[in-house]
């Protein structure tokens, strides 16, 4: 895969940062808009990823399924209030084909609960496919590969 120019890197890097900041600010309704209409989002574990197991923790194919997830977490699912803080590693972005990019970046996500307790909730890597549509980057696919097989308490918000 080919290296990319600094301007493209900067644009995609800003997109990745914006995604994380929006989730950290609790703006989950806007989350599906970071994806192409037929975009894929998956959270799985390193163990599943390496074994080739298709079922991870969360899988959305298309913005419709993403909207359902967001509606469910807002109105249906029951859980204690919690806020998240993403810490992103510097992404490695390559051009996979003209106008399509592959990106890999490490992340960690800290969770703070209602009682004030903060802890490391997840760590792992993003494996992304990014396309530029109408001048704006969008995820064609975002795979979140968690290092741990074990989730503390539950997982309800996308990472």
């Amino acid at each position: 895969m080919a290296a990319i120019d600094p301007a493209t890197f900067q644009r995609i890097d800003a997109f990745l940062t914006d995604y994380a900041h929006n989730l950290d600010d609790g703006l989950t309704d806007g989350w599906p808009a970071y994806f192409a209409a037929d975009g894929l989002y998956q959270i799985t574990t390193r163990e599943n990823f390496e074994a080739g197991y298709p079922i991870g923790l969360m899988l959305c194919e298309g913005r419709g399924m993403m909207q359902d997830r967001m509606l469910a977490l807002r109105t249906a699912n029951v859980y204690e209030p919690q806020v998240f803080c993403h810490i992103l590693g510097r992404p490695d972005i390559r051009e996979a084909s003209p106008g399509a990019y592959a990106s890999r970046a490490n992340f960690s996500v800290f969770r703070t609960m209602e009682n004030g307790e903060a802890s490391l909730f997840a760590t792992g890597k993003y494996l992304d496919r990014i396309v530029i549509e109408a001048g704006a980057p969008l995820f064609k696919a975002r795979r979140v590969i968690l290092d741990s097989r074990c989730i503390d308490v539950l997982l309800v918000v996308p990472l």
Binding site: I43, T44, T45, E47, N48, A51, Y53, P54, I55, G56, L57, M58, L59, C60, E61, G62, R63, G64, M65, M66, Q67, D68, R69, L71, A72, T75, A76, N77, V78, Y79, E80, R149, C150, I151, D152, V153, L154, L155, V156
Partner: protein, 416 residues
């Protein structure tokens, strides 16, 4: 096998009046009771789920697991036989196997290189005869007297079970005919693993054992079930308890829904929505008995669920008096077509640590733990559907299976 002597509780537990319809909160937070359970239940007359047969499918396959808090290793020897042993070297007691899964010709403790065959027999001891004629084991050292402590092993429908107790009845009797038949319905063909993960829940293991037997809560707490008519109590369904009441089956027939007004007044009935991504619930009828959702338990810590086409084994491992690790093993059949596999994968969104119909169970039991921890003298009131533990094939508005769990628990623990 030596049976560890269990010290009596420093303060005896008197079960409250009301029998299995009451549960003293003390049992969820008392460290002495928790320690007693390790001996009486997990090392007692029960079959513990160890792993899936597909985890140890080939000769040389080794899989680590737990029975209660005790680390255990399951092996598949060169003759095709399965063995289970405490994962503890006969020398100094170090863990012998460290990885979850591997394939090995024999087992070697990393500490002093004591080597065991796959059936747990001690084969070689490093420097047994010393070096240059000096050191080494005494003359009377007998390798055959030092082995990995074995468990009895039995398998059924792709599930591997183990027991420490000589008193445990044969597995088919332990399960009983109705339980075996339903396990065979769901698991009785070549299986393949589609995904695995776990979640740490911050509650005593028995709260999850209750929770997964509780057909009363399912459609109230788990809104998604109700809204999308995956599982409701106004569908035909029932509860079947095993002869000794330890195990249970809860089943639902989705096509029989006759909407009841009662659901209009509860939170779970308020969430009106059409799915924007309806492929989530694409499903096919796999069986001709009309059952579209079932939860089955095998005492103490095994669960098999089959929701639409989402099939999984769950098992939970106590990690302390107020901590439990819940494992999810998502399954399909070897015979599945690509389209069928795809439906199981999509429906994987329903359950697990992020499951649309199950994620609440990650926190609800913790809420009970936190609510009860400071009130050991108070008790739960469990009378929905009656005061006894009996099968009920006409209604799941009952806590009969929860009472069945306590029936088994009390008899094994000797809490009268």
């Amino acid at each position: 096998m030596t049976q560890t002597t269990v010290a009596a509780l420093s303060e005896p537990l008197a079960w409250p009046e009301g029998g299995v319809a009451r549960v003293p909160f003390r049992v969820f937070s008392d460290a002495e009771i928790y320690a007693l359970e390790q001996e009486k239940i997990f090392k007692g007359p029960i079959w513990n789920f160890l792993c899936m047969e597909v985890d140890v499918a080939k000769p040389g396959d080794v899989r680590t697991t737990w029975v209660g808090e005790t680390p255990v290793v399951v092996t598949h020897d060169q003759d095709g036989k399965l063995h289970a042993m405490i994962n503890r070297c006969a020398h100094k007691g170090a863990l012998v196997c460290l990885k979850q899964k591997e394939n090995r010709e024999s087992l070697t403790c990393v500490y002093h290189a004591w080597n065991y065959s796959l059936d747990g027999q001690l084969q070689t001891v490093a420097f047994r005869n010393g070096l240059k004629g000096k050191g080494g084991m005494p003359e009377d050292f007998d390798a055959s007297k030092h082995r990995l402590q074995p468990l009895r092993v039995a398998t059924f429908c792709g599930l591997v079970f183990g027991t420490f107790s000589e008193e445990t009845e044969p597995l088919d009797q332990y399960l009983g005919a109705p339980m075996s038949k339903f396990l065979d319905r769901n698991l009785g063909r070549p299986l393949k693993i589609l995904g695995v993960h776990s979640q740490m829940i911050h509650n005593n293991w028995k709260l999850y054992a209750e929770n997964v037997r509780d057909s009363y809560h399912a459609t109230l707490l788990h809104t998604f079930y109700t809204t999308f008519k995956v599982n409701r109590l106004d569908m035909d369904g029932g509860i079947i308890l095993s002869d000794k009441k330890w195990h249970h089956i809860s089943y639902t027939k989705r096509a029989t829904l006759q909407a009841e007004k009662e659901y209009e007044t509860v939170h779970s009935g308020q969430y009106e929505s059409q799915l924007a991504g309806p492929q989530l619930l694409n499903a096919w009828d796999e069986f001709d008995d009309g059952i579209t959702h079932s939860i089955q338990t095998v005492f103490p810590t095994l669960v098999v669920h089959f929701t639409l086409n989402s099939l999984a084994v769950r098992y939970f491992v106590p990690r302390g008096v107020d901590k439990t690790e819940l494992y999810w093993v998502f399954l399909g059949y070897e015979r599945d077509t690509e389209a069928q596999s795809q439906m199981r994968v999509m429906q994987g969104n329903l359950t697990g640590a992020a499951g649309l119909v199950s994620l609440e169970d990650g926190c609800i039991n913790e809420f009970v733990q936190r609510g009860t921890a400071t009130s050991p003298e108070a008790k739960a009131f469990i009378e929905m559907g009656g005061k006894v533990a009996e099968s009920n094939e006409s209604s799941r508005a009952t806590e009969a299976s929860v009472r069945g769990f306590w029936h088994g628990y009390r008899s094994i623990m000797g809490f009268h």
